[in-house]
Symmetry: C2
Subunit: 338 residues, 2 copies
DNA sequence: GAGGACGATTGAATCGATATAACTCGAATC
DNA sequence: GATTCGAGTTATATCGATTCAATCGTCCTC
């Protein structure tokens, strides 16, 4: 097994000092054209690739940014990550993606990893409301930006969508098409997105004077969980069933849709369904799914820009909160029956 | 801004030497219970988190594994990554995921990043057939395992599904339901998966004595590309259109399905469609999509295990090739019209 | 009570790139 | 001719964790 070449080897071959090699690599100081050429050739012939661990140790910070999402299996988050990645590439930084799967322990373990790596910054959609670990990272000098979560708690910049408003939009839509017995299907209420969307939905109901919202809670917001929740509804006497469902995300909604359709329930005639996120697959579902859209890529871009500014120290002293507006995408699954 | 504590600070507070702190951190040598307790307390009070760059510099290798996939937006690859991640976690390694987006330049840039990081190993679904960079990584001592790609070219272990067989299965199914004018919609033929699936499909046709397969090539295998390809078919006179479509992956197939349905083409009556990968959303599509299933999680697990064995040196000297069998999932989109 | 034996602990050397102060050498200035 | 200047280059200290040979105690054995 070949031992990798280091700056010293490159310096020896190019007949210069290691300092000069470093200057070529980082273009920090002027290097004479002839010298630079010799160094580059030496790098080429030795197949030298800089050891980033050494660089990082000296510089004290990585060129990587950590990102924690709630579910990599959810296209919403992968879209978000792509927006972030593209923007980070502009300042030649790269992304390490961590998947908490809505689990506090997994989140903790990834944050520990990120801290060991001395990431340059952190983008996070936290599982819960506690921010101890985040405070600690910041005290260490690592900027943190909250994603898909308003930064009211703790002082962090944030990029978010008004989830309460989104919940209102969804439920108002169900009311508008004449539904009076809606059910909310969501993940753990500890997840802020879920509780905010629920609150938004409830606020509409109380104003419209409709019976309180029935709530079905599942620990994890996957399509499987949606199917499972639908089974619970199917076990009810048809007269007891809701006439409409608001699911906290599209994966849940698609799972519900699939289970209901399979059981012979007509969507939207018997039960209307609206989801959240407007992932790509919503529009192409068996019954095209109504949803509340979030401007995913734009959010990713905004988050990366906020973070980059904080890392580079070009951010002001104030924490920024970029809030996007959700938007109703009405489709077949909430059509008014004819 | 607080300066982070290091082993020296911990050692001072616990009244031991730095060597002992290291022994506690890595449990390499026996440490007296009392001493260990003092060290752990010091770590706790100082909020010490090991600087992995320093560790890595000394040890010469990272605890991270790099993984290059063709498309993070494709659930097939995120499922694969989750299988890998779960398995790596067993040996407390973590994953850096890189998305080449089927682009050789992006792939190159990620591989460079991985090399700078001195990743412990690499899992890759390469964009093309060239293996120069991979050879180089291996020469440096970094094990490489090919994923979703048979390792015939270059000597690498691999985990794959028999793509040619998958192509055969798909097209045989179309022939079985009586279709005689199939069209193949795929990504760039430089992508091995695409060309193999195509070859498999063609082999069925020549045996069945059916007219050669029409091929539509798109540079990228996304749902948008699928819609775009469908437009091309829709521009044809109906009598010229195919009676069936085999798409190289489900994203393409779902895009095609959506565009055709919107244009009033009946699926499967006018045109039958079969995809590839059997991603979750295939079954819940407007017309449930037939597909060729790959055992995604199992592949991820197998790949991670092969790689781990090579990293730990417990692998034999022979390169291993794990080949999974694809499986037909027949659904509504290829039903025989009644 | 001397000599091992063994477990626990120490401390200096080390990994590779970068930062910095010092230096060289030729040109420009007076 | 001495001095200043500055671009280019060099040599060395440094970052923080790990390693390993050396050392320290303590108990055991004869």
């Amino acid at each position: 097994m070949m031992v990798a070449a280091n700056v010293r080897d490159v310096a020896a071959l190019a007949r210069v000092s290691v300092g000069t090699v470093s200057n070529v690599l980082n273009s920090t100081k002027k290097v004479a054209p002839g010298t630079e050429k010799r160094v580059l050739e030496a790098i080429e012939t030795l197949g030298f690739v800089r050891n980033d661990a050494a660089r990082q140790l000296r510089v004290g910070q990585s060129r990587m940014v950590g990102m924690m999402v709630l579910d990599v299996g959810n296209p919403f988050f992968t879209d978000l990550a792509r927006g972030v990645e593209d923007t980070l590439a502009l300042s030649s930084r790269s992304l390490i993606l961590g998947n908490s799967a809505e689990d506090a322990a997994r989140e903790e373990s990834y944050l520990h990893l990120f801290e060991e790596q001395r990431v340059a910054g952190l983008l996070i959609t936290p599982v819960s409301r506690t921010t101890d670990r985040l405070e600690r990272l910041r005290r260490r000098g690592t900027p943190v930006v909250l994603v898909d979560r308003f930064g009211g708690i703790g002082d962090f910049s944030s990029v978010s969508v008004d989830d309460r408003r989104g919940g209102q939009i969804a439920l108002q839509h169900l009311v508008d098409i004449g539904r009076v017995r809606p059910t909310f299907i969501g993940g753990s209420s500890a997840v802020v997105q879920v509780s905010e969307r629920l609150h938004g939905a409830q606020s509409v109901l109380s104003e419209a004077g409709i019976a309180p919202l029935r709530v079905i809670e599942r620990p994890y917001m996957s399509a499987d969980a949606g199917r499972d929740a639908a089974e619970e509804l199917l076990a009810l006497d048809p007269s007891e069933r809701p006439d409409s469902i608001f699911a906290a995300n599209d994966l849940l909604a698609l799972g519900v849709l699939q289970a209901l359709t399979r059981a012979g329930v007509r969507v939207p005639d018997d039960i209307a369904i609206i989801g959240y996120d407007d992932i790509y697959f919503a529009a192409s579902a068996a019954v095209p799914l109504s949803s509340v859209r979030q401007p995913t890529r734009g959010m990713g871009k905004a988050a990366a820009e906020l973070l980059t500014a904080e890392i580079d120290g070009t951010a002001g002293s104030e924490f920024q909160h970029v809030v996007f507006e959700p938007e109703l995408m009405a489709r077949e699954s909430t059509r008014v029956p004819t």
